[in-house]
């Protein structure tokens, strides 16, 4: 068995009567770039949200590096149930809130860019350092953590340099052109030092040239940071070029999986995307 970083097992997510994700099973192995594709409303982002702890799933579990990090709870009130006190009862880690998932090493970006609007590029990156602080409220307030603070800033600057955003360091994040905002969001996710990076439509709204740049960027990031990448994307050029494997989701169900070549020629995928043939 190859070393899987992420394993999603029988995950079902229901909102009221709507089944957004239906019995999803998938694996992402170390060092891979895996894509999740499917038509709009197929439940891709919902799957991401389950993995990152935004919604507790109706059923199923998520494993990260072999540890169970998310599982269903009979009442669906997992958050309350598992906040802290029950942690010791399990041999695996239960980390249902997004911040704890992030601390475990899963970072993500969002479909509709979610940068910190009122802050500069530098500050956006710097925020990720917060979770690694060793100072407490008092030492931080009284600025007794000078060394740590300097280190945080150095780290952030270093990352900015790597992603080539140091020329816009002090610009407001929202004043950047679209492509750079995307890159900043990825950089911000990288700042949390993840081992798994989830990208939600990183190329959405980009022109071909920007998409090409992004493709190169993602590949470079994977290599430089020794990452595993799991990504939702619509740009087929990008997906086919970069992905090691692809999962296809339609109406919440997995309909196909495999290497780009396999998926590309799968008739179920074609019909899901074109949609109409079967109905006629």
């Amino acid at each position: 068995m190859s070393e899987n970083v992420l394993k999603v097992e029988h995950v079902t997510m229901q909102f009221g009567g709507v089944v957004a994700v239906d019995n999803l099973n998938l694996e992402v192995n170390k060092g891979e770039i895996v894509s999740l594709i499917g038509p709009n409303g197929a439940g891709k982002t919902t799957a991401f949200n389950v993995i990152t702890g935004v919604y507790p799933p109706t059923n199923g579990a998520v494993y990260f590096q072999g540890k169970k990090i998310v599982e269903n709870h009979p009442q669906g009130k997992m958050r309350r149930q598992y906040l802290g006190e029950n942690e010791g009862k399990y041999d695996h880690v239960i980390a249902p809130t997004p911040d704890r998932i992030t601390k475990l090493g899963i970072a993500r970006t969002f479909q509709n860019i979610r940068l910190f609007k009122s802050q500069t590029v530098f500050e956006n990156i710097l925020i990720a350092e917060h979770m690694r602080r060793t100072s407490n409220l008092f030492t931080a307030t009284l600025h007794l953590n000078g060394a740590e603070e300097r280190q945080m800033r150095q780290e952030a600057d270093r990352l900015l340099h790597i992603v080539e955003l140091d020329d816009v360091r002090d610009e407001l994040a929202t004043s950047l052109p679209y492509g750079k905002q995307r890159r900043l969001e990825i950089a911000r996710a990288l700042a949390t030092k993840p081992s798994l990076l989830l990208l939600d439509e990183p190329a959405a709204g980009m022109n071909p040239q920007e998409t090409d740049e992004l493709t190169a960027f993602i590949g470079r990031v994977r290599d430089d940071f020794h990452l595993t990448i799991f990504m939702i994307e619509h740009h087929m050029d990008l997906v086919m070029e970069i992905s090691d494997r692809i999962y296809v989701l339609d109406f919440g169900k997995l309909i196909s999986q495999g290497t780009p070549d396999v998926v590309q020629s799968d008739p179920r995928v074609i019909s899901a995307y074109l949609g109409v043939q079967e109905d006629e």
Binding site: T97, R114, K117, S118, I127, A140, H143, E149
Partner: protein, 359 residues
């Protein structure tokens, strides 16, 4: 301009302000209205900044400020009334339960802590609520606290519906500026620390902040408790300034007033809150008072002027600010030495985020 120079100039300016106040106190009679409004302005600046920490910097819409001020004010009053005065103050409750008195400074700190404890307990359930719901729940809590403090059965502790008074208070305006200044400085330091960055991240985007590994519940609670701590301290200062307090003063109208100050100053601007609280207090308590009395100039009776007109004019001014100057006095900018320096020298316009007043 170098960082050290900047810090030095800032400190020098603050020192100059204190010296001016010190001199003023010796020149102008201490009963002057000037000192009254300065004291109250300093207290309101603190509570406005503490509210800004929540509403402006953490994005938590809380309307419980008056409630926490009440807790602070009562804690201060209850703990500092001299023992020999207690029989007099607690005359309906046989001198009350507590028979000791603490040093005022100590009591101020405890006032903040007790308010913080209340906030912690209240925060456990309500901080899970979002925006308007949080606002209405905190407003409700302030009302509940008020009723509890007036409860007859707690009379031996809180003196029920009756005033607390005869506790010690500092008269000098310098004390209020120093106390309020230290607290505001602490809040500024907090906002500029890594915690402050986390608060701002939460304000800008909760979901993204959580994805950055920031524990929402924990940080919201910190902001709520810290804000309430300082509201409690300002309540204690208000008690001192008023020389007597009663739970019925701390109505929701008080919270609205503070909220207006924050908005007029600019949500997310500390200096804005300070400037606007002084403006607000000076205008409403002092300069506009003439509108309340009839005025005859050269045999001509100025129309409209009579009791209550001051408030009408004042509320119209507020509406104009709210409608036409939505950013308030400062927006989210800060008034800083560096900002002025850059303005004068024309340097660093582009890169500066925290520039001077209005650009």
């Amino acid at each position: 301009m170098k960082k050290q120079t900047e810090a030095f100039v800032s400190v020098a300016l603050i020192a100059a302000l204190l010296i001016v106040l010190f001199v003023l106190e010796r020149v102008i009679p201490s009963t002057s209205m000037l000192f009254t409004v300065l004291k109250k302005g300093a207290i309101y600046a603190l509570v406005a900044v503490s509210m800004n920490l929540l509403n402006g910097f953490t994005g938590l819409f809380s309307l419980g400020q008056a409630g926490f001020m009440l807790v602070g004010a009562y804690t201060y009053g209850v703990l500092t009334i001299p023992v020999d005065q207690r029989a007099n103050v607690y005359m309906y409750y046989d001198g009350g339960l507590i028979q000791f008195a603490l040093h005022p400074i100590l009591a101020i700190v405890i006032a903040g802590i007790i308010a913080g404890i209340f906030a912690y307990l209240i925060g456990l359930p309500v901080l899970r609520l979002k925006s308007d719901y949080l606002a209405i729940a905190t407003l409700g809590f302030a009302e509940i606290i008020r009723a509890v403090f007036q409860w007859d059965k707690l009379g031996p502790l809180t003196n029920g519906s009756n005033l607390l008074r005869n506790y010690p208070s500092y008269k000098s305006v310098l004390f209020y500026f120093a106390a309020s200044g230290v607290c505001i400085a602490l809040i500024v330091l907090l906002i500029n620390s890594t915690y402050g960055r986390a608060f701002k991240a939460i304000r800008d985007d909760e979901v993204a902040a959580e994805a950055m590994g920031i524990n929402l519940a924990h940080h919201k609670r910190i902001a709520f408790v810290v804000s309430s701590f300082f509201a409690g301290v300002s309540g204690a200062l208000l008690a001192m300034y008023q020389t007597s307090i009663q739970a019925s003063m701390f109505k929701s109208a008080m919270t609205y007033e503070i909220l207006l100050i924050v908005v007029i100053g600019g949500i997310g601007s500390i200096t804005g809150s300070c400037i606007s609280s002084f403006l607000f207090i000076i205008l409403s308590e002092w300069l506009l008072r003439f509108l309340d009395s009839e005025l005859v100039i050269g045999g001509f009776k100025v129309p409209l002027l009579r009791s209550g007109f001051r408030k009408v004019v004042f509320s119209i001014i507020i509406m104009i600010i709210v409608l036409f100057f939505r950013q308030g006095i400062m927006g989210t900018k800060e008034f800083s030495v560096r900002g002025i320096y850059n303005r004068i020298t024309g340097k660093g316009r582009k890169a500066q985020k925290g520039g001077a007043a209005d650009e």
